[in-house]
């Protein structure tokens, strides 16, 4: 058994996949969650090239090129989604999106136990009128 034989490469690929899974499950930053999936893709690519080398055909490397293509698409889409989400809540915390309902709807499930980060301005994206001029007289002050 040689050190760079098939099994050793598969062991390294499995470890990278497991570490990426831990990162995906534990991080709260939206960007790091996406980066962890890229780490899992690295483990898979390593497996593919090792099998290609073992069987003596270029198919493993061709599959890795497709994995690279899909990873690029995924990164572009994920970044544009993250930018849109960041523009609405001004934070990269994934727990701010655990409740997708409107603010005035009743909360059906239990609140999460993890402390939330403070919102900068939850209604920043909504249009609002600037107060201008004199305040109108109320009927009580007339009499």
């Amino acid at each position: 058994m040689t050190a760079s034989s098939l099994e050793s490469q598969l062991v390294v690929g499995a470890i990278l996949f497991a570490l990426g899974m831990i990162g995906f499950l534990t991080r709260r930053n939206l960007i790091l969650i996406v980066l962890s999936t890229e780490l899992m893709l690295h483990g898979v690519s390593l497996n593919l090239t090792a099998f290609g080398r073992y069987h003596g055909n270029p198919q493993g490397q061709v599959f890795t090129i497709f994995v690279l293509t899909i990873a690029a698409c995924e990164a572009g889409l994920a970044l544009s989604l993250i930018l849109t989400l960041y523009q609405r809540r001004k934070s990269l915390d994934v727990f701010l999106w655990s409740n997708l309902g409107e603010d005035d709807l009743p909360i059906l499930s239990g609140q999460s136990t993890v402390p939330q980060t403070k919102l900068a301005d939850p209604n920043a994206d909504l249009p609002h009128l600037t107060p201008a001029g004199r305040a109108p007289k109320t009927p009580s002050t007339k009499t």
Partner: protein, 252 residues
């Protein structure tokens, strides 16, 4: 109990690695990173002793151990670092080490393409977004992991199952860990043609992993898949442009 005694050699790096990752994951109270680092190094040494025995070829072994250890350690540092900028940089180090492993697997074109796409494009754009979105260096949510005990336990159970299956695995076609071919890595004709554009492998002079062999396989056997991948790229581009915030809606 008998089973665990027999397989304790595989369980040792798993338990050490689980302890190291669980210890190093960002918690409310700061923990000593030195202890976690020592645990991780111990896990790597135990893994090398049990699962990754060396071969005779000194240079190849050294390069494999170097790249594998760098990849695993920097991946662990990436998922445990509290600062997202440093995490992205550790991911770049992981990418470079994985590209070294690609080189050992006779895939030089793939290694170059991965470095260009990941280190050159993906990580740079991720860093841009991190620096745009987080002007303050540290945020509260980066220092609190979500259920670190459950996540690391589940992932290491999965890893243990994978490693155990690999250890019990008899190899493909009854070949148990046959040594790799020495010398150039040339294609073997298996007589299978994927579609009408497929061509037989080239003469035994051209190495797999060169752009010539890869291009022939890509544009003959996988012609339809290449067209589909191009379509997916186009759709992803249109989608990213449509989803990304407009300038009229205000910038970040």
């Amino acid at each position: 109990m008998k089973w665990s005694l027999e397989n304790s050699l595989v369980l040792l790096p798993l338990v050490l690695g689980w302890l190291a990752v669980w210890w190093l994951l960002p918690q409310q109270r700061a923990r000593s990173r030195i202890l976690g680092g020592l645990l991780a190094v111990g896990a790597l040494l135990a893994l090398q002793a049990t699962m990754l025995p060396p071969a005779g070829n000194l240079v190849r072994d050294g390069l494999f151990y170097l790249f594998a250890a760098t990849a695993i350690l920097s991946a662990g540092l990436m998922i445990t670092d509290g600062n997202p900028v440093y995490a992205a940089l550790w991911f770049a180090v992981t990418t470079l080490s994985v590209c070294g492993l690609f080189l050992l697997n006779s895939a030089p074109f793939l290694a170059a393409a991965t470095i260009i796409v990941y280190a050159g494009a993906i990580i740079v754009t991720f860093l841009f977004v991190i620096m745009l979105a987080q002007q303050t260096a540290t945020a509260n949510y980066d220092h609190r992991a979500v259920q670190p005990l459950v996540a690391s336990t589940l992932s290491f159970i999965l890893l243990g199952a994978l490693l155990f299956a690999l250890q019990e695995w008899g190899g493909i076609d009854g070949k148990v860990n046959g040594p790799l071919q020495e010398g150039p890595f040339v294609a073997q004709d298996d007589g299978v043609r994927a579609n009408v554009f497929s061509q037989p492998p080239m003469s035994n002079k051209t190495e797999i992993g060169s752009m010539r062999v890869l291009g022939r396989s890509l544009f003959s056997d996988y012609l339809y898949a290449v067209e589909l991948a191009g379509t997916v790229l186009l759709i992803a581009t249109i989608g990213a442009i449509a989803i990304a915030p407009r300038r009229s809606q205000g910038t970040l």
